[in-house]
Each structure stands twice: as C-alpha cells, then as structure tokens.
C-alpha cells in the first residue's frame, strides 16, 4: 500500500517540479520586474566577468550585466520565440499533413515526396536564407526556425492523419452516412491533432535550442536582447575564463526543455486516461 502511494507520489513530483519551474518562467515572461530589481540592459564595464557571488548569483557577463537578471528578462523573448516557432512549424505540418492525408492519392504521394525533399534540405540553409531575405530580428528567426523544423513535424502529423483516416471508427462514421466534411471535422481533425498538444509543449524548448544554434552562427536575436540562445553563444569565447556565462543560459534552456517534456508527458498521460 505505502509502496504504491510512494510510487504514485514519485510519479507526481516530476511533473510538479516541472510545473513549478514553468510557473516561475511564466512570471518572468509576464512581469520580470517582480523577480529582479536590476536593469537587464545597464552595462557596467568595470563589473564585467564577475564570478557568481551573493551580489550576482549567476555572475556577470562581458559588459558587466547581471546574468540572472538577463535570464529572467530573456525568458519572454526566448519563450515567445519558442512558442511562435513551434506554432508556425505545427501550422505548416498540419496543413501539409491534412492536404496529403485527405486530398486523394496524388496529394498523398506529393506530400510524401515533399517531406523527403524537406528532409534533404538542411535546416541551416533554410534558416540562413530566411535571415538573408527577411533581415535581422526576432521575426525572421521565428520563421527560419519554424520552417526549418517543419519537416520532422510534418512527417509525424502526416503519419497520424493517415492512421486516423484509415481508422475503423472513421469507416464506421462513413457507414453511418455522414458527409465527408463532417467526418473530417468530427473525427479526423480532433484525433489527428490531439497528439499535437504534446508535441507542441515538448517542441518549445527544442525551438529555443534551434535559435541558439543560429545565434552561434551570428544570426541570433539582435542585441541587446537577452535572448537565452544569444547569451549562451556569446559566452562560448569566454568559457575558459567565465564558465558561468555559458553554463546558466544553457541550464535555463535545458530545464525548460525538460520541464516542457515532463509536463507534455503528463498531459499525454492524462489525455490517454481521459480517452480510456
């Protein structure tokens, strides 16, 4: 009995911790000034490269800005970027998957082929081209990352749409005499899109990571934005002298990924339980 309870409790601590972390993030997104009184942009060249201390919990960066403060203020932009990029990726994926799944044989074949092409086309090239065409800033970054990662999601959602399309309950609905439009609306869409909720939560962190790679290549969010990926990539030159500049932004990204994954998994379990 107690063992079982403990097991259940154990299973719940993970999601609880993750949810707690995400709640803090949410506060940072909505009202960062609640969490810190420091100005994230104010430079203090004399205080540059200060190691973590009571005064600067996570140390300072090359311009003497407090890293913790910048992480808190950066949450908004990073998460906004992550959320919009994953939204864009899923939008593309769902549109293509629905066209391929419901548009007949030619459309199905076409989408399969398109997915192959998208996979063969490196994300990096797409991203660079986006940034070249659309200029610098957060919007091109979102578009680049969103389009770049759409291929993987398209494949997932496409598989899902195909599975749902051929599911016996869709056939049963057809045998009941429902119109195709109604079947798409009532059965195919909800069931095909259901797993996307989980994909979306898990994808946010992944998108932040992606944008960090672009920062690495000099195409990140424009300064002085405290975007996590940019902070992380700026720190890499100083890794030997100021490890905290790299470690903490990285941790913020990893914890966000972990938290969204754990919460996503919990949502999935709950949804599965709801459907069973």
């Amino acid at each position: 009995m107690t063992r079982l309870k403990r097991a259940i409790a154990l299973r719940e601590t993970g999601p609880a911790l993750a949810a707690f972390y995400l709640a803090i993030l949410l506060v940072a997104v909505i009202a960062p000034q609640v969490l810190t009184q420091t100005d994230p942009m104010a430079i203090a060249p004399r205080a540059a490269f200060a190691p973590p201390s009571l005064h600067h919990l996570f140390g300072t960066d090359e311009s003497g800005r407090d890293i913790l403060t910048r992480l808190i203020y950066g949450a908004r932009q990073s998460l906004l970027l992550g959320v919009s990029a994953i939204a864009l990726a899923l939008l593309i994926a769902t549109t293509l998957a629905l066209i391929g799944g419901l548009g007949g044989r030619m459309a199905e074949r076409g989408i399969r082929w398109l997915i192959d092409v998208m996979f063969a086309f490196p994300v990096l090239v797409l991203a660079l081209l986006c940034s070249a065409t659309l200029g610098s800033g957060i919007v091109p970054l979102v578009i680049a990352v969103g389009i770049g990662s759409a291929a993987g999601y398209t494949r997932l959602v496409f598989g899902q749409v195909l599975a749902v399309r051929d599911a016996p309950y869709v056939e049963a609905a057809r045998a009941l005499g429902h119109s195709p439009f109604k079947i798409i609306r009532r059965h195919i869409l909800p069931n095909a899109v259901r797993p996307l909720v989980v994909l979306a939560t898990m994808g946010v962190g992944q998108m932040v990571v992606w944008s960090a790679s672009l920062s690495f290549l000099g195409l990140g969010a424009p300064p002085p934005a405290a975007e996590w990926g940019t902070m992380l990539s700026m720190g890499r030159d100083y890794i030997a002298e100021a490890w905290w500049m790299t470690l903490f932004p990285g941790l913020a990204i990893v914890l966000t990924m972990l938290a969204t994954t754990v919460v996503g998994r919990a949502i999935q379990l709950r949804m599965d339980a709801g459907a069973s």
């Binding site: 092409v117 063969a120 994300v123 660079l128 790679s213 690495f216 992380l232 890499r236 790299t246 994954t261």
Partner: protein, 321 residues
C-alpha cells in the same frame, strides 16, 4: 507464405521496386537542387561582391564584371537555371566560386570527416541507448534511466560540446581540444552529438521495449527458463529497434546537414562548415553540391533503413525491399 515463395523470389518485382526507388531519389535530388537554386537567387545579395569584397578590398569595376561573366551571372535567370540543371544532369557539380576548386573536390575533401563523425556519433548513441535500455532493470532504476534519457535528449548539442570542451579539453586536458587528427580528437565531438541522440533513441525505443516486455512471447521465453538479460537483449530489444532505426535515418541527415556548430566548436573540418561558408557567400554551385550530397546521404540512409527493417523484422520482407 510458403517456403516456395521464399526461394523463388520475384526478381522482376525487385527490379521494379528498385527502379521506382531510384526514380523517386532522382526526383528528390532534382527538387532539392532546384530549391537551392531558387532560394539562392531569390535572396538578395550578389555572390561576386561576396567573393571579391570580403574584408578590405577594392576590386575594380572591370574585375567585378569579369567575375560576373565568368560565373554566368550576367545571363537571364532562366538560362542560368537551364544550364545549371543540364550541368547537374551530366554529373558535373561545377566549380565553387569561393573555394576556387571543383565542388566535387570540396566534397571529396570534407565529406569523409563529416561522415566519420556522423558514423561514430551514431554508433555511440546506439551503444548508450541500448545499454541504458537493457540494463535498467527494476522500477526505480528504470525511472532513473527514463529521467536521465529525457535529460540527455534535451541537452543542446553545442552546449554540451562547450562544457565537454571546457572540462575535458581545457581543464583536465584528457582529450585534444581541436582538430581532425586521430581517434582521440573524435571523442569529444562524438560525445557531444551522441549523448543527446542516445537519449532520444533510448526514449523512442524504451516505449516499444516496455510494450514488448509485456508480450506473451516474453512469457514463453521465461517459461522455458531463459535468463532475464538474454530475454531483454535477444527478444525485447529487437522489437524496440524499429523506431530507433527510423529515428537514426533522420538523424543521419540532420547530423550531416547541421553539424556546422559542432564542427566549428571543435575546429573540425567538414561539410557543415563548408555549407555555412558557401551560404554566406552565396556560392551557388557549392551550396547545391552540398545539398545534393546531404540529400544523397539521406536517401541512402533511407534505403539502409529499409534494409535494416527487413533484417530486424523479416515479416516486412514482403512489403519492403
């Protein structure tokens, strides 16, 4: 399916399937090449000025005009595209603008390093994933392994790379911090790629593995007295391989195409860096050559995946090959 049909395999059918597969591959390559062409021509920026204008230079107008003419950039776009496709069709990848050498030579020089890194990362990732899956027995260990895998899967490759470089390259000096020399210099980049991928693989395979462990045939194996580790390794794991294999096919393409950051951090040569440079200078022949290379790797990975599928699950022989 009788024994007979297994021996007298329909060869015409295989030929047809291979032909279809090849046709599809060619179409994919063609599309990738056209996309590369369109993308580079639709984005603003003149490759010639990028090539001649790096740093502090003052090319004369005649020099610029000559270069533009040399690369055919003064012709109408449609003509350029036609020539481009015709050239590709004849198997000529062209001459890189920015590297002053044939694209094929660039690929020959940089391809092996990238493929070697990719292969070692993939192998290591599989090793990590399989070890974690097979040897995490018991509720608590499994829960721990699951969390670790999720954590690993979430690690950004480049962050891990920097931390590894710092800890093992700079501070402890166990591994050389950079370069392409020998196996030792392969360790850190391999780990940076393999740990997240291994976490991913394990996460994908663990679900199937757990499902397989509850299949009746596992009970049969237990009932005949087979030791537990053998059951996990020989019976359950094999059923978990398929999702791992398809993930690997995707990973191969991604590792080649997006390896630039790792290649940069560890100052390794490779396709990724070359691609980055090429895109930066709008070096059309080189970009499309590399895209074709990646597409080809991806296609080959797809074919290898299908073959592996059949090896792992011979029931698929009928539907694939």
């Amino acid at each position: 399916m009788t024994a007979l049909s297994r021996r007298t395999w329909p060869f015409g059918l295989i030929a047809r399937k291979i032909a279809r597969r090849l046709a599809n591959a060619v179409l994919v390559l063609l599309a990738a090449a056209s996309l590369a062409f369109a993308a580079l021509h639709l984005t603003p920026g003149d490759p010639v000025t990028a090539i001649l204008g790096g740093g502090t230079q003052t090319p004369s107008p005649e020099t610029i005009a000559a270069a533009r003419h040399e690369y055919g950039l003064d012709r109408p776009i449609s003509v350029q595209f036609g020539l481009y496709i015709a050239r590709l069709a004849s198997g000529n990848l062209g001459q890189s603008f920015s590297q002053h050498m044939p694209v094929a030579d660039v690929l020959r020089a940089q391809g092996p390093a990238t493929l070697a890194l990719m292969a070692s990362a993939l192998l290591t990732a599989w090793l990590l994933a399989v070890l974690s899956i097979v040897f995490a027995v018991g509720r608590r260990t499994t829960a721990f392994a699951r969390t670790t895998e999720t954590f690993f899967a979430g690690l950004p490759q480049f962050w891990l790379a920097i931390l590894l470089l710092w800890a093992l390259g700079f501070e402890l000096q166990i591994f050389p911090p950079a370069g392409n020399r020998g196996l030792r210099s392969l360790v850190l980049p391999t780990l940076s790629l393999a740990i997240p991928l291994g976490g991913f693989l394990a996460r994908v395979m663990r679900d199937s593995f757990d499902l397989a462990l509850h299949e009746p045939f596992i009970l049969t194996a237990r009932a005949r007295g087979t030791p537990e580790w053998l059951i996990r390794l020989r019976h359950a794991l094999r059923h978990a391989l398929l999702p791992g294999i398809s993930l690997s096919a995707w990973a191969v393409g991604a590792l080649v195409g997006n390896g630039v950051v790792i290649e940069m951090i560890f100052s390794r040569r490779g396709i990724g860096r070359e691609l980055f440079l090429a895109v930066m200078t709008h070096d059309m022949p080189l970009v499309s050559g590399i895209i074709l290379f990646i597409a080809l790797v991806y296609i080959l990975a797809g074919i290898a995946t299908d073959a592996l599928y059949v090896v792992v699950d011979p029931r698929l022989k009928a539907t694939r090959s």
